[in-house]
């Protein structure tokens, strides 16, 4: 309709303008790609150099020759132990966190009881508590119950600190599920608990998978609790392995770059597989703002 009203010259002009705008946008987008990728490029290229080749060859040269021994040294230095411990801690924490936050979100989203609003407000308020404020008491608590320097020590804090945000997002998510789903299940003779496990939980899958991605990333990379609660190398998780290797090979920069590359690769691979889930669950959390 508008196009008919516009004369030809105007139409052509606006088309050229949009062409120019898109060209500029794509140039800027490519600049952003360069900014994003250059550090990764630096990391990966240097991980294939010999220790002293790095300074001699400079950053912009390809490794010559390609040197793979950094990786074998890192693997021989116990890299997979750190890796496995991180997998265990993140796996257990994530499963517990998802179950417990879904439990908590269910009554908050779908039942009316007296304290609902109050409990919800309290849990949401916990989102802004910085974990560093709790560090000394949790250190104290961990030593008192004898969990200090073991992987068990990390699970409680990891789950607890991921809960407020997760409950917040899942509550918003579960509110979008139509009431009829439960009503029809009730007619079929389901009680509340069956309702939760067979109706609500399966329908919340996309919310749960987004939470798994975000919390998985932050637990995998968590540093402060791990650094405070673990001390011996045979108990440390992956983020601490970086410091451990740096301490042992501080002059061998390519070696450290190999450790860094190995530690991000699993995250990047998982992300590329699951990247379509990245936005969906976040949308539910973003609605309410």
């Amino acid at each position: 309709m508008v196009k008919e009203n516009m004369n030809d010259a105007d139409y052509r002009k606006s088309k050229i303008q949009s062409r120019i705008a898109w060209t500029i946008a794509i140039i800027l987008a490519c600049c952003m790609l360069v900014i994003t990728l250059t550090p990764f490029f630096f990391m990966i290229m240097n991980s294939f150099r010999k220790q002293f080749d790095m300074l001699q060859q400079g950053v912009f040269h390809l490794p010559d020759p390609w040197y793979f021994k950094n990786y074998t040294t890192v693997v021989a230095g116990g890299f997979f132990g750190y890796f496995l411990r991180s997998v265990i801690v993140v796996g257990i924490s994530l499963v517990l966190m998802l179950i417990i936050s879904a439990f908590a979100a269910y009554p908050l989203a779908r039942m009316s009881f007296k304290l609902n609003a109050l409990i919800y407000a309290m849990i949401v308020a916990m989102m802004s508590v910085p974990m560093h404020v709790t560090l000394i008491p949790i250190f104290k608590l961990t030593t008192a119950v004898g969990f200090y320097d073991s992987l068990k020590a990390l699970i409680g804090p990891y789950v607890a600190f991921a809960l407020p945000m997760s409950v917040f997002i899942l509550t918003a998510f579960m509110k979008t599920i139509p009431k009829e789903v439960e009503e029809s299940a009730e007619i079929d003779g389901c009680n509340r608990y069956e309702n939760f496990f067979f109706m609500i939980l399966p329908l919340s899958k996309s919310g749960l998978s987004t939470l798994a991605i975000y919390n998985g990333v932050s637990m995998w990379n968590e540093f402060a609790f791990a650094n405070t609660l673990l001390i011996s190398p045979q108990n440390k998780t992956l983020p601490l392995a970086l410091g451990q290797f740096k301490g042992e090979h501080s002059m061998d920069i390519p070696m450290i770059m190999a450790v860094l590359t190995l530690s991000v690769m699993p995250m990047i691979i998982l992300f590329i597989i699951f990247q379509d889930k990245l936005v969906k669950g976040m949308m539910a959390g973003a609605v309410k703002g």
Binding site: L37, V59, M111, V159, N221, L260
Partner: protein, 303 residues
Amino acid sequence: MKNDNKVGLAQARAKSIAVAATVFLLPALLLITIFIIYPVIDTFVISGYKWNGISSDRIFAGMENWNALIHDEMFWKSFRHNLIVMVFSIVLQIPIGMLLATFLDAGGKKFNIFKIIWFLPYLMSSVAIAFLFNYALATNGGLISSFASLIQGKKATIDLLGTAPNALYTVIGVMAWQFTPFYMVYFIAGYGNIDTSIYEAAVIDGATRWQYIKHIAIPLLGPIFKTACTMSLIGSLKYFDMIWNMTQGGPAGSTELMATYMYKLSFQQFNMGYGSTVAAGMFLLITAIALIFNKAFKVKEDY
């Protein structure tokens, strides 16, 4: 009789809801109490003592620690650094994240590869980023210095992390590299949430995709924008991991933040009493700033 029955039924129903709600909420509330609420209270308790964190005897010191905190220049300097980080985080990460999301939303599926690559920095741990940039920004063999040498044709050394005013801004830049992708996804979700019928209506009225984004979509993102700012604000006031591994607050305290200062006091100098006071002070400041920010924004929304 019949009425009684009804009341009884309603009561029984309310009771069974209360039981179910308690069962479902109990694990979450228990964990939050043990690992968040109790520790916060305990931090305030310990802040009244002189304690090295190991020995069983701790000496009650009254308000002595708090008095010291108020006159502690290093603490207020750290707080100022936190505020600088906060302002630059909000000014850099959120607008860039929003621009990237806008570009992806306008471009649609064919730009998916941009989204995947732009998100990568967020997958890296703060520790890994700290080590990587320590070397990538080094004067010898680092990216920026090498690039400057390439342009000038002679050896250039640009010291980004070793000198006082540069270091803080360098760290801010690295933080932007790390966290912008998070806000990008957040805004993509925001765009995705806008009802498609609004877009369809705009197209029928002859709007281009760009006009729709500029005049309809961005104004609708208001509340999301506010949440993003709150997250960035709290995030930068409690920032720790990367700075700790990159500069340890140095050189000469120029990148010291409240959290790194607290960690140094507590777990390097084992001054846990005063460390707790710093942590508690940090908690009060963050809560106050978050509340003020929320209130200020609410007033604006009402107009």
